[in-house]
Symmetry: C2
Subunit: 257 residues, 2 copies
């Protein structure tokens, strides 16, 4: 046994095991950490906190350049963390990281995000966890995000996190030298103006594409959207107790019994 | 135009448009309310807050006993509410109800529940909404739950709900006369001891079934699980701002910039 054991990280994502964002994370961690990848076999964006109950899960060894790279799961990001933890890994990970997602996971997108759901699952299992996303869909450069992930992981191992809490990290897509620091933020509340683009297929049948545009994004760095728009790294502490405590007493006054 | 217009309810669920739980809701509302059903074409349990971005959505008219019954969507519960609101309904619903789910949606299941995600989507759209679930998977009798849903809907129309808040209702599976009243509750924090049942298929390949058991459920009626276990209707006010406000300041003290 090593005198000084490397910390053990489980990496996952929702863009799928072949994503360059996951590779960037792995490259950043592979020397100082023991890394295990358990990631969806295919892209799983906007799956929310889905888990697979009605179908069997399958796991495959996934190779890259002729070498074992990680476990590919035919399932969701939450499935990956669960099956990694309970069935694949020989010991409990010290940390779970989900990403680096291509595209931000801010504001209302937090609740649709498979990337975030994987970190939620890590927190449920009692492991310090974070989700990390890059604020662009075009020509993503993961260099800074991957470096920041390492720095944050080192810190999490030292500091820990409160029970049931994890971090949702969003990295602005600007050049590294333009990044203005880190903002600890709250989830933005901007909503989408949604549209369903109605079309007719070649067989004469109707179908719809969901499209949308985020309206009235908060510009303050108090919010996740505002922070990355101002070239700051956004870190939002997230929990999965959805109770609205402020409304318990008013609701009791309705006297529904 | 009617002098007194009926309130307009959009019904959905995650068990699929053919579910008897949805039918029970519809029967309970059809006289006093104008009812539109927009529900998944097939069962969609544990899909979390998934939305369909990478595939086109299709909508079909669904008939029952030779009459139009509702719109069946090849998508998730959240898709149904979105496409109902933005593309199918001619006017904004006064209320969105998701259910009656077969099986409880309490504690950590709240975050995996398609039923709950549909009510979340209603709240995001600014419509008073609730999810309603029955605490059994076996021989469900929806009579009381459907009646309670009507009573609650009538009340919501009068009282409204705070912005971004909706209700998660769980009905105990006991006989109506044994129900002891309504408890306004918080989301339970009991976790699952999960197992992946590993099997070999007839072709020699490994697959896994996720199974699990909720451990250490809270017994107090302060919690959703505890309430229905004690034959009380549980109503939990839910919001979708996942920020853990208590951890903002401690995290700022990490000085990550």
């Amino acid at each position: 046994m090593n005198k000084k054991k490397k910390p053990f990280v489980m990496l996952t994502n929702d863009d799928g095991i072949a994503s360059p964002g996951l590779l960037a994370l792995r490259q950043s961690f592979k020397h100082q950490y023991e890394v295990v990848i358990v990631a969806p076999a295919t892209e799983m964006s906007a799956v929310g906190h889905a888990i697979t109950l009605s179908d069997p899960l399958r796991v495959f060894d996934y190779s890259r350049n002729g070498e074992f790279y990680g476990y590919a799961v035919k399932g969701t990001p939450a499935d990956c963390v669960k099956i990694g933890y309970w069935a694949i890994l020989k010991r409990k990970p010290d940390i779970v990281i989900s990403g680096i997602n291509i595209g931000p996971n801010t504001g209302i997108n937090t609740i649709y995000s498979g990337t975030v759901s994987a970190a939620t699952e890590g927190a449920i299992l009692g492991v310090p966890s974070f989700a990390i996303s890059l604020g662009t869909f075009h020509n993503p450069d993961f260099t800074y995000a991957a470096k920041f992930a390492r720095k944050l992981a080192d810190m999490l191992l030292k500091k820990g996190l409160p029970k049931d809490v994890f971090l949702n990290v969003n990295i602005p897509a600007c050049q590294e030298k333009k990044i203005r620091g880190v903002a600890i933020t709250r989830q933005g509340s901007a909503l989408y103006r949604e549209d369903f683009d109605k079309r007719i297929d070649p067989h004469g049948r109707t179908y719809y594409w969901l499209t949308g545009q985020k309206l009235n994004k908060e510009s303050s760095i108090e919010y996740d959207d505002g922070a990355i728009d101002q070239n700051m790294v956004s870190i939002t502490p997230i929990h999965y107790d959805l109770t609205c405590y402020d409304f318990l007493e008013p609701l009791r006054a309705w006297k529904l019994s």
